[in-house]
Symmetry: C2
Subunit: 340 residues, 2 copies
Amino acid sequence: MAQKPATLKDVAAFANVSRATAARALNSYGYVGDETAQRVRDAAEKLGYRGNRLAQALRNGQLPIIGCILGDIQNPFFARIAHDIEVLARGNRYNLIIGSSEEQLEQEVSLLASLQSLSIRGFIVAPTSDENNFHLRRLIEENVPLVLIDRVVQGIECDSVLVDNEGGARKAIEYLISMGHRRIGLLQDDTRIFTSRERLSGYQHALVAGGITPDDRMISVSQSTVEHAIDATIRLFSQKVPPTALFTVDSLMTQGALLAFRAMGISIPHDVSLVGFDDFNLATFTDPQITVVAQPVSEIGLAAARLLFEKLSGQSRPSEQIRFETRLLVRGSVSRRPEG
Amino acid sequence: MAQKPATLKDVAAFANVSRATAARALNSYGYVGDETAQRVRDAAEKLGYRGNRLAQALRNGQLPIIGCILGDIQNPFFARIAHDIEVLARGNRYNLIIGSSEEQLEQEVSLLASLQSLSIRGFIVAPTSDENNFHLRRLIEENVPLVLIDRVVQGIECDSVLVDNEGGARKAIEYLISMGHRRIGLLQDDTRIFTSRERLSGYQHALVAGGITPDDRMISVSQSTVEHAIDATIRLFSQKVPPTALFTVDSLMTQGALLAFRAMGISIPHDVSLVGFDDFNLATFTDPQITVVAQPVSEIGLAAARLLFEKLSGQSRPSEQIRFETRLLVRGSVSRRPEG
DNA sequence: AATATATGTGAGATCGATCTCACACGGTTT
DNA sequence: AAACCGTGTGAGATCGATCTCACATATATT
């Protein structure tokens, strides 16, 4: 059967009025006679008229859709944020398009271009790189509302929602130092990623402040997947003089480290202490439970969506940077190291 | 500055040709002089012409976007599926709109309507209810390509991708019976959800086949969240004669059960045995590791996307039902129960 | 009575890309 | 010379909703 959906023209014809009048009746603007309006509404009802958002969007230049480009929806951190944004968007009668950049700049650029040509005006992006940013810069020049989350980009004036990565990392390292550790390992992902760099910086500053000289042999880099993190952990702990404690920069890497330790027969917290950045559901199910630096995940998506909708509703104000504090959740994965 | 993006008209003017010719040159159809075509391409390049997908979509009646309505992206099961679909969609130059029904029929219906009015032709849906299905039925009547995943809907002829829920549940229960358990609890979510019903049915059949009379006191129902599952588990195990083993119908409920057991001081597998439906990353991090019925998650999204793109490319064929087998992954959460 | 004001309505333009049609030109065929 | 073809191009219609403008009426004001 496949009958086409009813158009405004159909409704107008059915109600014996012009398209203009039908539009007025349905969108209640301008003058329409009461009786006419009712007739139009009845016709719309009868024909199941729903309007074509595409045509509306073409007319007024924008589509009520928010583009959301994240690293990967499978990361629970991003999944939570995406979910929160979607709920808020739904409340504003927007839909949400999700794209994964998979941490590749090229993909981020092409996704953005493809969404822009859809007349989407409103993006929430977790940018892959903070150097190569011509595409974001162009968005801003074109006045497209944009909110960056989790990461910022050098030289770009733009709303953003971040957490205090450096401070969080510092807290973790200070805590480890206070527990007597001096050879503290770092498991991090690509240094082109903003969060990773900030966390590295917190790690280094805390060490120096604690009178410890940073040592490159204590740092292992890998992609942010459980599998890569396992290898990187094994490399780190196969050294002659391995770390006595490990700090991991995100939850996937924390999981990798846990698996690596199990494979190597290294026990937590007896043989090695562990602190991870980003709390995750698994952290309280292990024995011992894992001490982590927690981010206020539930607030990030909300804040980002709020900023975006402010921009979208036409408010122009100086761009706002929100930075959330982190909290160190002490659980059982760190032990005091006897001096010496 | 905010200059509008270049339109075809701009390109045509710049190249000193009509819009029709410009279109022909850029989309390579019809006759265009070589030199003219080059001039148009140069103009497009110079002006950064990218085309307006909205206008294109309005013209040809469909938008290259796939609508994906799932229970909740935060469930790793759905997150994985969504991710896989997005990757395939990207390969076909489609984007992905994600909506969460949050297991509410009303939300599912309104999301679907809103996406349909966007001229989106192509949906992947995990339907909330299998009774109330007028909206899905309408889609099919209108010949909109639709693939159901994870759940089917009564009386609807439609491509679908499922797993063998009943068989999976039966395997779990048979295994528990073979380990000597006779009071086997079931922790399930809303029976309006298809998967839940099928798993319940597998549970019941396996019991009967094992010579055990199903007993309602062994069944506890709650929403599928960790928090609700905790309460439901506590209710179940506060009875005078509690189960000796528990089967949980999804990973969130498995997590809830684990937390409840910990809170109640019940140890696995000493005091109670546990088998969960759906493998999840946490299952191998606990001590003991959790025995689960695993679904081939990585294949579901792929299969669904493949079916959808077949339909989208105009192939008409009888609708296909794909049902994947499950596997029982025996780990350490079940102990043999001494007879008696 | 003449003008102003409020109320309703329709014709037509617009958004941007695409497609059909008509028309041009040079060359070939009858 | 007439009819025909292959090639190249532009004018205008189309998709569906909305908005501006012009034009009706009817009522109120001078």
